[in-house]
């Protein structure tokens, strides 16, 4: 099996036209003028950049309160974890599990998996390519589910505004958490899964 890159052929991502790679360092599609490259340019660097950003924001997203609820009788701030613990304590184990998986496990697992993929590609590992490819597909598909928390907070903030009786405000962790989800998706997007299958180590 040989990849397109090994044959010196470029596929246009926009219109699908194949073209031969020129000697020049950069190429464009002769039909739709879109930029062409054998692999996504700077894929690994972009991946790392987004991943590091996501990791940096993951800490405040989990330690700061994601939601402030204030009622007649006082206000309280809840972090994601305290919310999970509250659900668990009050007997809603299934719901606690869902929130725990969607909000804590999935982003964390995604970041770890992405880091592993990026590292493996950068170091040019050859083994377990099929598993790594499956892992990547999994990451891409579950990424959006992490936004569950953000949706809940957004809904509550919009709905529970009974000024005097009760009010819900988003905490500083909410944008951080949203950013974590977006950045992990961006990292997954910027990662070029074809790199897994490349025979030689990528140049960049």
């Amino acid at each position: 099996m040989s990849a397109a890159a090994e044959l010196g052929v470029l596929a246009c991502g926009m219109c699908g036209l194949l073209s031969r790679a020129p000697a020049a360092p950069a190429a464009a599609c002769p039909r739709c003028r879109a930029r062409l490259a054998f692999r996504r340019p700077q894929s690994i660097a972009h991946g790392w950049a987004y991943l590091i950003a996501a990791m940096a924001l993951y800490v405040p997203a989990n330690t700061l309160p994601i939601m402030y609820t204030s009622s007649l009788f006082g206000s309280s701030g809840d972090t994601i974890m305290s919310g999970v613990l509250f659900l668990w304590d009050s007997g809603d184990w299934s719901l606690a599990l869902v929130v725990f998986v969607a909000s804590i496990v999935v982003p964390l697992a995604k970041m770890i998996a992405l880091a592993a993929l990026l590292a493996s590609v950068q170091l040019g590992w050859r083994s377990r390519r099929a598993e790594r490819a499956r892992l990547y597909r999994l990451i891409e598909s579950i990424g959006r589910w992490s936004m569950l928390d953000i949706f809940v907070v957004a809904l509550l903030v919009a709905l529970v505004q009974l000024t005097a009786l009760a009010a819900v405000r988003a905490g500083p962790a909410a944008p951080a958490f949203g950013a974590v989800v977006v950045l992990t998706m961006a990292a997954a997007q910027s990662f070029d899964p074809r790199l897994i299958w490349d025979r030689e180590r990528p140049r960049a």
Binding site: A28, R33, L57, L64, L72, G74, S76, S82, A176
Partner: protein
Amino acid sequence: MNDPAPEPIPQALAVPKAGRSLPLVWIVPAVALAIGVWLALSTWLERGPVIEIHFRTAEGLQAGKTRIKYKDVDVGHIGEISLATDLTGVVATAHLSKGAEKLLVEDTRFWVVRPRISGSTVSGLQTLLSGTYVAVDVGKSTQRRRLFVGLEQPPAFTTDVPGRQLTLRSEDIGSLDIGSPVYYRRLQVGQVAAYALEDNGKAVRVNIFINAPYDRFVSAASRFWHASGIDVALDAEGVRLKTESLVSLAIGGIAFATPLEEAEPAPITSDRVFELYRSQVAAFKSPDRIADSFALVFNQSVRGLQPGAPVDFRGIVVGEVAAIHTQYDPQSERISIPVEIRVYPERFTSRLLGGAPKSGRLGKDSLFIARLVERGMRAQLRTASLLTGQLYVAFDFFPDAPRARVDFAHSPPELPTTPSTLEDLQATLVSLANKLERVPLEQMGADFTRAMESIDALARRLDTELAPEARATLAEMRNTLSEATKTMGAASRTFNAAEKSLAPDSALFSELQDTARELARTAQSLRTLADYLERNPQALLRGKSTDGQ
């Protein structure tokens, strides 16, 4: 599809390479890191002080949930709750928000706000729904502190409420409680803040708080009294019923007033302790600052005399009975009853007379008291009420009393006494009874019986022997009487006849008149004759001359 020959693959266009040495994408993690660091830093900077509060129980407290509020503003929360090392209570670790250092001074107080219902107030009802919280009252000290002991009861007033705190001393707490009202002219001006037993256990100290601006009505001369209950006074004006208010009737309270005679209120020293009187009357009784003790030895029963019984001087209460002892004198082998009294000499000093003696110390001025005794002043037990037999001690002057001296050798000095009038009366009665006892009543009775018997016999004899004779005599008498009646009738008739004959129109009467007239005429003739004879005596011899001269 019939497998056409593949089109030749066109050559891609050569474009100039985008000249970016450092990809822009690295801005993203840089920004993310910056945000992360900023968030972490700000959170860390927002962190306020951590303090420990010692509570007796953790009732209503929830780790991580219970808020700490100052003036209803959230200033922190209880982080962890653990048992104190000596197991006497719980230690709540409180995380306060930034800037709360100002709250944490030496006399800052923490207490748990939970629903409370006491006599007059219902508080903390909102915590029924919201859950309890810890309230703070910031002190005035500048000394910083991190370890606090929480109050079990919410304080009645907070430090920032203007007013004045006073300490009262009372025999007992009565029906007072924390929060009980304090009245001034029946207006609530404060409340009871705290109370505690004195160290020796003999009295209760009650801390009250008078809100501004009413605190300026308190002066060193102010009197405080229990406003609980009803005052029923029976005096010359009839029955008077007095109470502060229905609330104080139900839950108790304290009232105070300042006597009008205190013209300029003296400032209150900080360690001044006011007396809390039992009633308004007691509060306004002029305080007896000087008390002199005397002993009175009575040789009679003191039944009905109690400690606290009044000592009066001609109706003015000047003291009270302090104690009643018994004393055995081995020399004379007599048991006497010394009664110790307290006399308040200030009550003798009159306001009416400006020149009251300045000393006024009866006990000290031995000469004065000796002179009074010399003039016959004696103590006497008198009955206050014949119904109950209550006694009181009265001083009065008995000029006829046997001479006695004040015994200053004793401490307290012993004043002479005189038997009470009742005792005198009793003695007289006893001697009378003794005399009566000596009368031979039994013999007298026997004699009397005998006399009665002889009288009876006499009567019987009279009845049997004298009665028939008497009856005969009576019959005779009756006859005699009827005779007499007849005689009387005859007499009456005679009298009637006489009366008739003597009547003016009767014949006899007119005859008598005629006779009288005749007699008068005769007399006249005789007088004429006599006159004639006087002038002419010769006529007796010659006879009457006819020529007249």
